[in-house]
Structures are given as structure tokens and as C-alpha cells.
């Protein structure tokens, strides 16, 4: 919401830096698997959300992961097929289902979280210590700006 026309140069730099960052992040490769088969980034993210909050409806999960409901439906189907997630019908509303982690799913979620923490810890170590607060603050600012700029009006 801050007025002031940004210069063309600054805009171009932001564009370059963001594209470079997103490409470098490599969203498409599956996560390292702590044990057994590889796991998609979204699967890992879904498990992480469920560890924090349980139960969740598919729509709620979709909002958190910013994925379409159809994607969530298939994603949950896969995780259910591995017996990591359970779909329980909501007693108060026959339309929605409640997602909960199975015992195996909880164990896997924690293993994945540990492995992931190692990855991000390593990344954080590659950032000069003095700049870490700036980087975190910048990511927050950027994400908020993205949400704001994506508003239709």
C-alpha cells in the first residue's frame, strides 16, 4: 500500500531476482526421502500441515497449500493409499471429510520434518549470519506484497 513509483531499473532487478530464486528453489523435484520411496513437495507440505492441525478438511488443506481442490483430492487419495492419512466423514456435514494422520502417517511426517529441517538448516548455514534476519524479514514482506498485489482490484 506504499505509494511512490518504483524505477524501471528496480522493477527489472526484482523481476530477475525473483525468477532466479524460484528457479533455484526447484519446486519440481521430489523431496529427499528419509526412508523408502520419494515424496512430492506437496505431499511433504500436506503432512506438515496435518501434524500441526488435525483434523483438516480437504478445502482447508487446499487453502494452506494454495492448491486446487481437485489437486488436493488426488493428493489425499495417494496418501490414503499409503495408509498415511484417513478420510473420515464429517458427522455434522455429510459433504466434507475430516483428514487425520494414521499412526504410520504421523511417524512418517515426523521423519520427513526432521529430514527437511536438515535441508533448511544447511541452507541457513549458507547465509551469512548477519544477513539472516534481513532475509527472513524480506521473505515475509515479499509474501505479503504478493498477496496484496494479487488482489483483483
Amino acid at each position: 500500500m506504499s505509494k511512490s513509483d518504483p524505477s524501471a531499473e528496480t522493477t527489472l532487478e526484482l523481476q530477475d531476482r525473483m525468477m532466479a530464486f524460484v528457479r533455484a528453489f526447484g519446486l519440481h523435484q521430489p523431496d529427499q526421502t528419509p526412508c523408502g520411496q520419494p515424496i512430492s513437495v506437496s505431499e511433504a507440505h500436506a503432512l506438515a500441515e496435518l501434524v500441526r492441525d488435525q483434523p483438516l478438511t480437504q478445502q482447508e488443506l487446499g487453502l494452506r497449500l494454495r492448491l486446487e481442490k481437485s489437486t488436493i483430492s488426488r493428493l489425499v487419495g495417494l496418501l490414503e493409499g499409503r495408509d498415511w492419512i484417513e478420510r473420515t466423514p464429517n458427522p455434522n456435514d455429510g459433504r466434507s471429510v475430516q483428514l487425520t494422520l494414521t499412526k504410520t502417517g504421523t511417524r512418517m511426517a515426523k521423519q520427513i520434518a526432521t529430514a527437511r529441517e536438515k535441508t533448511f538448516s544447511r541452507l541457513l548455514e549458507s547465509i551469512p549470519k548477519a544477513q539472516r534476519p534481513n532475509v527472513l524479514a524480506a521473505l515475509k514482506t515479499l509474501t505479503e506484497a504478493l498477496h496484496e498485489a494479487q488482489q483483483p482490484a
Copy 2:
């Protein structure tokens, strides 16, 4: 390369912020199309690279976009189908091809660049002016850290 164990909390925050950012960025949606049909993010990115440097081999383009050579092959095929790009055989090396923009392709690339600039300008406006330098610097730092952390050894 900076030593010092980051705290678990900081690691978690980085993890959250990065996931939130990447999801918010929405890599999967096609770009707004300045005229005619929608364009994938990678197509727009490819045109932007070619406007800067011409000609490029497919492998070079793949390195810049951080995409597999098979992806580039298909991507170029699509752009060639629209008569935006030309594949010219390299006279010095029969294996590689030289990618150049056609007249139409150049015009489109510029239109897309303009539209994209508008998008990023709007995003930049959503970032408080005082924080803009920090955000840009942070993105640079992060991308470098990503490349460093992805090194095998």
C-alpha cells in the same frame, strides 16, 4: 560458507517463509497474455532470455532456465510452432541448433516484457519503499545460498 549452527526456530521460520513465498508466487498459473493466447511462465522466461542474448543453443537456454534439455526441446518446439522462434543448424557443429527470435517473436517478447514489467512494478509498489533494498539484497543472498547448499559435497 559462514559457520555457526542456526537455531531450530530460525530454521523452521525459514522453512515456513520459503514455502509460503513459493506457494504465493504461484509458479503454475500461466502468465497474463498481452494479446491472444495464454503463455506459460517458462515460455515468457525463454523469450526474455533470447531478447537479451541471441543466438542461444537449447542447452544454454536450459541452463538459464534451469530446465531439463527434454523440457527445452518441447518448449522450443511450441514456440517454433507459433513462429516466434527459429531453429537454425549450427554451421560449426551439426549436433546443436541456434535459437533466434523471428520478427513476430521479437515483437511478442517485447510486449510480454512490458506486461510483465507492469506486474512486477505493481508488486514492488506493494513493498514499503524503505524495505525494497533489503528485499532485493535478501533475494540475491538466498539464491546464492540455494546454489551453494545444492552442491553435492
